[in-house]
Amino acid sequence: MAGYRLCGTKYAQTPYYIENISTSIYSIEELCYYFYNNIPLLDSTIIGTELTKWIASELMLPKLAENMNIALERRKSISGFVTPVFRECGYLSTSQLDAYTARLSDYLQLPGPLRLKDKGDALTRTGKYSAAEAAYRQVIEDGKTAAFRPEFLSAVYHNLGVVLMRMLLFEEGLRAFEEAWKLRQSQKHVLAYVRAIAITKPEEKALMELRLKGLSEEEARSVYSEAETTINFARSAANPVIPDDIDSYVRHLMEDYHNSVGG
């Protein structure tokens, strides 16, 4: 239902910091936005009494906070914790809230490892690579005692590889891609692995490794040539426009990096 949703509740003086997305929120509507768009990230970093204390003291909604605490303590219900927030401000229409509740319920019924992988994926999307790595590694660890399907584990290893590459941990990333390939020789995993080799190693060494993996000379050169497109793109970005305030620029880059790797 389109329209203008009146904001009736207070704007917080002190924001609540959502660690998973490195973002501060000031209002109940922003909290609804987070809940609505980040179901896999409804974890213990947000579902808890720190949030309800903030709701009571900063948003001046003690009754809502109390209801949320009851849902959590007595009924251990994430849905019971989250949905009253939407109702308090009417952020969603009735049908939208029903659809969200159904989506949340479906998600909560997924097996734990699948939810953990989804969480890792969501953290990757928000740039929280270190936290994503932890989620993927937990799934892999659980997989040692549980019989996960190879397709599922290979997807986890693949995504782990992506995250590690983004954290510039190339060797570890390569090993993750290799594991993904071993579990499932899909074209995607093969390409990801060999491209990673070609991108992260000098040409001669890359060609040698590719040959060791069973590729012919011709195939190895073909893969390397394909990877060069990526390499050239990376090289073009190696000559960025240097801003006047280089200190702020570098500081910003460092903050982004530390934010992603949790340092």
Binding site: A2, G3, C7, G8, P15, S24, E30, Y33, Y91
Partner: protein, 418 residues
């Protein structure tokens, strides 16, 4: 003064003289505040005196006294109520600062230790309220620490209305006349009620003034003729007389004529008490709900928006018809849900006519749905114009505010008859 909490105050602010009253709940009527305890001196000059080199102010009679000293500077009413800063030897003061000093010092006549804590409402009444005075008076009260709910303004004719309609119903059962004397000039006003519509409206009609002779006998006859001319075609239940140049010694025939027609009251504090009655009406009794005084300052069109409040569709009023333009302001915040423009609903005073009015928001940042917060402010600069300002507040840490501002004006003109 026997009121110490929730005090309701009337403040007649004039260019030459001012006076105060407060509502006495025991007596159930306003009481004028004397400038000296135990006297009947209620009016005081609108004048300030400031000690050179110090922020020490005196007002009224005190100011006139201190003004004779070399180390004090006088500021007259025309300057206090003016538009330009006043340069004193040691410092320059804006009209708002001067008003704050005058109002602050005057209110101490009430003998209250904590003005902002004890006063519920101060109703300021003046002959007319141009925008610069509205702005300056508001600024003065704000700087004195009063909240917006603690003060209001109305012109003297509205105070006349509240005075008249706060009397017993017999007084205003029919029209109410007002004779205003200014030495040798007298002017006539009348309150006329229209009970046929809803809400019932009361308006003031004005007649051309007359000049009276200094000869008291001729003066009486002239007043009789003037009263007859203006009252003979109407039906009056009450007559009020105020101002300087009138006393009970000379108007024998004219008063006899008026008394035959209606109840007659004379007093110099009609407007200040009317202001006090208005404060009492607004804050406590609401006895005149259902009636609207058709002030020239009245906003005659409501502005609102159809909004979603906790998921329910509701009409939210933003500017209410029936309020004075200087009291008509509002501020809200809302989230845009699949909307890139603002739609206002305008309705007539009697709520029988409605139309919509759109305000575009060009270059509104592109964001996901329900991720843009807008602050909307409305205020009137006259009875005919409402100014609208919309500001982008972004969405917290998700989408930083651009603080882009869009402005528009909505004319508050009457609907065309269809």
């Amino acid at each position: 003064m026997n009121e110490v909490r929730n005090v309701l105050v009337g403040f007649e602010l004039g260019k030459e003289e001012s006076q105060l009253s407060y509502y006495n709940r025991n007596a159930q009527e306003p009481v004028s505040v004397p400038t000296k305890v135990g006297t009947n001196l209620f009016r005081f000059p609108t004048v300030l005196a400031k000690k050179r080199g110090r922020e020490e102010w005196h007002f009224g009679l005190e100011a006139e006294y201190f003004g004779t000293r070399d180390d004090f500077d006088l500021v007259w009413g025309e300057e206090i109520l003016g538009t330009e800063p006043v340069d004193l030897p040691d410092k320059s003061y804006t009209p708002t600062e001067l008003l704050a000093a005058f109002i602050g010092e005057s209110l101490r006549l009430l003998g209250l230790r904590d003005l902002t804590g004890s006063i519920s409402c101060v109703m300021v009444t003046m002959d007319s309220l141009p925008i610069h005075l509205v702005t300056n008076i508001r600024g003065a009260f704000d700087s004195l620490g009063f909240s917006h709910e603690q003060y209001s303004l109305q012109n003297s004719m509205e105070s006349f209305y509240y005075y008249a309609y706060s009397q017993k119903p017999g007084f205003w059962a029919r029209d109410v006349a007002l004779f205003i004397f200014e030495e040798d000039r007298v002017s006539f006003r009348a309150l006329k009620e229209d009970t046929t519509g809803k809400p019932q409206t009361v308006k003031v009609i004005t007649a051309p003034p007359a000049t009276l002779s200094e000869d008291l006998k001729i003066r009486d006859l002239q007043l009789l003729e003037y009263a007859n001319k203006n009252m003979s075609n109407g039906s009056f239940s009450g007559v009020l007389i105020t101002g300087t140049g009138f006393d009970m010694s000379w108007p024998e025939k004219s008063i006899r004529y008026m008394c035959r027609a209606a109840k007659v009251f004379y007093g110099d504090n009609l407007f200040v008490k009317g202001a006090c009655y208005a404060a009492y009406e607004h804050m406590e009794t609401h006895a005149l709900k259902g009636k609207i005084y058709m002030s020239e300052d009245l906003v005659r069109m409501s502005i609102g928006m159809d909004m979603l409040v906790k998921g329910k569709a509701m009409y939210i009023p933003l500017i209410n018809a029936g309020s004075n333009w200087f009291d008509a302001a509002n501020e809200i915040e809302f989230i845009l849900d699949d909307k890139r423009e603002l739609v206002f609903v305008l309705s007539s005073l009697d709520e029988k006519k409605r139309r919509k009015c759109m305000m575009d928001l060009p270059d509104l940042p592109d964001r996901p749905n329900r991720a843009t917060r807008i602050r909307l402010k409305l205020f009137c600069s006259s009875a005919d114009v409402c100014h609208v300002t919309a500001e982008d507040l972004g969405f917290g840490g998700f989408f930083p505010a651009t603080h882009k501002v869009w402005e528009d004006t909505i004319p508050l003109e009457a609907f065309d008859d269809e």
